[in-house]
Chain length 336, copies 2
């Protein structure tokens, strides 16, 4: 059960997603090939497959992750007031996840599961081209259900942010839908990040209906939006998505981003980085910056620029969460 | 009990030390001050103090650590054949430690404890000057005892490498002494790293007797060697240590290192690095490179140079173990 104090100090963004600890290791492309892994995608795996791959991986680093959790972490690092809903177990990795998110000042009151599968983890293989290939064992994260949705928290937050990955499990999907309904009933906005082209492929019809009817702010990268509408070019995808929701932010890696509304199109440059080390979390960080701009009523182009600055920080090191406070970076790069 | 196959494929260096997972976070010097922490040192803390500090620390990254374990990891990364003896529990952090060390090709057969305290961890606070302040909760690591010393492994290894930190617990000390005796009885060499000036301070008389009578290769940094002999300058410490053991390698951070034997003194430059990010593990990495040279019968100056190259890699990123294979770096920097 979600326990609500009913007295949250005005939360601006509440993220709902898989509570995951990332296990990051460097790997050659040949390792991916030998292990039958599809480079650049996220695959859901069971405990046995995860253990087996882990045993073959090189030395790793553990960092709290999870797509929506990364976004809320970035949002807090920018100075925003965030909350997160997600499920861990009462084990060591769960304690690490809880510590890391709370230490950023983020409200995280989801109770850890006292039994069942262990805290989820994502095996992240970073290839020399800085691309990342993800094998996720959801573990306890998949146990999230509608009972974890805190109505007072969702109803009081400006934006409820959902990761597409949640759609993979029926009870998580119920939680997702319930949160969206509460948010809209309270006159709040709902944001969705499509998360992964393969995830989009699994749930295309659902996602199109969802985007059309229940999502106000949509985040996707080029592969995801092209996959959603089964078109062959980014331009065609842009045409397809227009008018489906209030704001659409499409990220294109080094080609920057495009932000669309009914009446506006903004084409934005990527923020230059000296060296791209690991693109894990780039999209999550962009969403963090964009949402930060939105909650401060900045013009859309500036929202996108903040997103680009946040993404640039995250891709310049190993790991999906900012290593330096993004609010300091924002002052230097954007002057706010 | 140590389980020995009695058939190790010629191990060159076996390290014995605390099996620890590092929990690294950035912190301002003011945080250290507010929490009464002594900058640049290692303090042993109990579970409660560790939990309390952890709750106040910022978001962290978990990486396998432990002083001697880092050295063996560096040695393996250079292409050496290493083994490690140390104690974890059968918990998630223990599984992380085991995976990381084994994935480097290191022999690690110490059985995890099925009960008792959890796997040890070291809270590492990295200040903006790249210095690190360590608070260690030894947990299961402190449960190591003479029964964990595998006589076949020690007797067959060229060098048995011990971390001074082990001296802090009576049964670990017994293990330490037993390993040294087995190594010498088999005509092998024993190396000791003094580990920490405060650790030296706790065990000064013991360490002097040990260095005099049982250690062939001594590693220490400037603070540690000055503390050992209670002198006021590095020069005085050099005079005091000469003749105490076969080889003495003294590291001096950016001032490089000095290698002493009865007949030789080598003054070596530090390897330049573009940016010093985190000095955690610098001494461990130097020892790894130095031992790698020794096991290949390189001249002492070259041993020191390999140590400097290994240390430079480790201080150029967060975390105490190499991020890239050191053998590749060695080819580029030293041409071997």
């Amino acid at each position: 059960m979600a326990v609500s104090s009913g007295n949250y100090d005005h939360i601006e963004v509440v993220g709902i997603g898989n509570a995951i600890v990332d296990v990051l290791a460097h790997a050659e492309a040949s390792f991916l090939f030998e292990n039958g892994l599809d480079k650049g995608t996220m695959t859901l795996v069971d405990a046995e497959v995860a253990e087996d791959l882990y045993a073959r991986m090189g030395p790793a680093v553990e960092v709290s992750g999870g797509s929506a959790a990364n976004t809320v972490a970035g949002f807090a690092s920018l100075g925003g007031r965030g909350a997160f809903i997600g499920k861990v177990r009462d084990d060591q990795l769960g304690a690490i996840f809880r510590h890391d998110i709370r230490s950023l000042g983020i409200t995280f009151d989801s109770l850890p599961a006292p039994h069942g599968p262990p805290t989820g983890r994502c095996l992240v293989l970073v290839t020399p081209d800085a691309d990342r290939t993800l094998q996720t064992y959801l573990g306890a994260a998949a146990e999230i259900g509608p009972e974890d949705i805190d109505a007072a928290l969702i109803g009081g937050a400006d934006i409820t942010y959902l990761e597409g990955y949640l759609w993979d499990r029926p009870r998580a999907k119920e939680a997702f839908v319930k949160a969206g309904e509460i948010a809209h009933a309270a006159g709040r906005r709902v944001a969705l990040n499509l998360s992964d082209p393969v995830c989009v492929d699994r749930h295309r019809a659902d996602f199109i209906a969802l985007v059309q009817d229940h999502v106000d702010i949509l985040f996707a990268n080029e592969d995801e939006i092209v996959s959603l509408f089964q078109v062959h070019s980014f331009d065609a995808a842009m045409q397809s998505v227009r008018g489906h929701c209030q704001v659409v932010a499409l990220t294109r890696s080094e080609k920057g981003a495009v932000v669309l509304t009914d009446g506006e199109v903004h084409v934005l440059d990527a923020e230059p980085v000296p060296e791209v080390v690991d693109t894990t979390g780039a999209g999550d960080a962009f969403a963090a910056g964009f949402l930060f701009g939105l909650t401060r009523n900045h013009p859309l182009a500036l929202c996108g620029r903040i997103g680009a600055v946040a993404a640039a920080e995250v891709i310049s090191h190993v790991g999906a969460r900012p290593e330096v406070p993004l609010r300091d970076l924002l002052k230097v790069k954007v002057g706010r």
